[in-house]
Symmetry: C2
Subunit: 350 residues, 2 copies
């Protein structure tokens, strides 16, 4: 187990540190002692501040960009700021109004609500928002449907209890007729309806296979196609908002950084990894804490949304390390609570 050295900062150091972070978050410019001394909340001279800053730097909370520059928060500094100095921000009327517009229209599809949340969130923050869509993994099967398109192909459709629909085309075995198909579908629904999607594959081969054998000759081909359809959602869907917002951040004037980040966003796999392994509640990962070179100058704040106690998905904001943590956290909290309550009302009694 790691032992954390608890650093005790004096009140004055704390004050200076906080003002440095707040100022840097706003301006993106290194903060010097003169600038600080002019702030209302600071009543001592620049020399004093310089001394304190030297100490704060020694402790690793702030750093210089070059020998005679002002200071910027280090990653450790942001971590401390986030852990100890964050005061929850009240959302203003405009924010609240916009968030509630997500649920203004009568929308029933989970996915659409989630997508709209991503959009609104990115508009409110000017950062990039990412939403990991509702996990279908633990949905339960509502119905399987097979619709033949012509003699050779048919389309298999599965519907889950949350209204999620997956479909896939497959090749029909030769010499199968409509009656056979109907029997197959009946057996499938009989045996599998109500079962969690995760368990379907297993059940399919263990319980259904035997039954199918009695009814159609070329059953194995069909079985594989159905198994294919069932296992489609390997990853849950990702929704993005404001993918290009990062381009407006001064830290991304360097095209190379942009390219790295955008590439990761496009690939989705990396993002998926970042989002999926978070616990419930608010999670904050700062810079290299994300273990991802493209995220060097970025922070990721995630929150989960749920139906009742069942965690459904994750909603996140990706921004520069110099991010408005307080505001973003408030927003995420607010949206995820709203999302959870609306979704619960809609789907609780499924």
């Amino acid at each position: 187990m790691l032992t954390e050295v608890i650093t005790v900062l004096t009140d004055r150091q704390l004050l200076i540190f906080q003002v440095i972070v707040d100022d840097f978050i706003q301006t993106a410019q290194p903060v010097g002692s003169r600038t600080l001394s002019k702030k209302e909340e600071i009543s001592f001279s620049s020399a004093t501040i310089r001394n304190e800053m030297a100490d704060l730097e020694e402790l690793g909370f702030i750093e210089k960009t070059h020998t005679s520059s002002g200071r910027i928060p280090s990653e450790k500094g942001y971590r401390y700021y986030v852990d100890h100095l964050l005061s929850p921000q009240k959302l203003n009327q405009h924010d609240i109004h916009k968030v509630q517009s997500i649920f203004a229209e009568r929308i029933y599809e989970l996915e659409k609500i989630v997508q709209k949340s991503a959009k609104i969130l990115s508009e409110l923050t000017n950062y990039t928002s990412i939403v990991l869509g509702p996990a279908v993994r633990d949905n339960k099967l509502k119905r399987i449907q097979i619709v033949p398109l012509n003699k050779e192909t048919a389309i298999a459709i599965i519907i889950t209890d949350t209204g999620h629909v997956e479909n896939r085309m497959f090749h029909l075995p030769e010499n199968i007729d409509a009656g056979d198909l109907e029997k197959v579908v009946n057996i499938l629904n009989d045996r599998l309806a109500g079962a969690p999607l995760e368990s379907l594959n297993n059940k399919l081969y263990k319980e259904v296979a035997v039954l199918l054998r009695h009814h159609i000759s070329n059953y194995d081909l069909m079985l594989n196609s159905i198994a294919d359809t069932i296992k489609i959602p390997a990853y849950d869907k990702l929704f993005f908002g404001g993918k290009t917002n990062m381009l407006s951040q001064p830290e991304f004037h360097d095209i190379e950084k942009v390219k790295n980040l955008m590439n990761m966003i496009e690939q989705e796999k990396g993002i998926y990894d970042l989002l999926s392994k978070n616990k419930s509640g608010i999670n904050i990962k700062i810079g290299r804490e994300n273990n991802n070179s493209a995220m060097e100058n970025c922070s990721l704040i995630t929150a989960s949304y749920s139906i009742g106690t069942e965690q459904l998905g994750t909603i996140a904001i990706l921004g520069p390390t110099r991010m408005e943590y307080s505001r973003v956290i408030s927003l995420l909290n607010y949206i995820s609570a709203d999302l959870s309550s609306v979704l619960s009302k809609l789907y609780q009694n499924r």
Copy 2:
């Protein structure tokens, strides 16, 4: 009707112009007379070249970036190059191999094939590829299905003859039972199956409404929900490949340009407009011909793919005006032909 002034260039001017364009496409650097005079295919002095270039500039085919710079092709120049000087390029073995990998796996879904095409195309060209997915507009309805999820909500699913599936949740009228629903579904399929999606809305209100009235009390609410489901695909889907490839092009070192372009790509509406109004075959739009400020330094080459004679969708490459036109055109031709033939085999007899 516009009268086009036909400009006759001497063979030598043509040669010089072609070499300028080819060189600039490769290097992205303005081409000077000295550089040209060193080329194998050019056997006259730099002074002669300078004279010819002055003429070419007067005619508007090339331009200078500043008074004493080399020349770059103008938009008019690219247009001429594309219209008169393009020699079809043979694809190499590697290209052909990669293209054919699109169809290597047995995939039946139109969308997946199309998506894979976009990916491969962007990898082969290092530009951004865009595919306008199969138009569902003129698909014909295969089947409508309604699956109740609980007492209040149900999900309506429509399946088209090409295997496209759309679904939408809706609120069930109160006091409707499973038998009623089945009747509704039967009526719908009876009346609408085989009809083009476009005509469904009309038919629904004109023919089906009367029938429904006899069977369920609250039929109008239901009717509207079904109408909603049917009209979902307002725009055909867009698929992208290599969205970030543009970032590697030297003309996009300027962050502002990148932002403009990326924003347009993200919004999709603009892209949709650019793609949807093209005729069959290869279309080339250079720079401002696209009528879109974000496309100032870009060219768009589109090709259509089809089943039989029915145009299905569009496949396109978005790159800088300094684009490898010849190669891209060959690739697009090749892929669209392959796409068309494979899709025809799969769906001809639908």
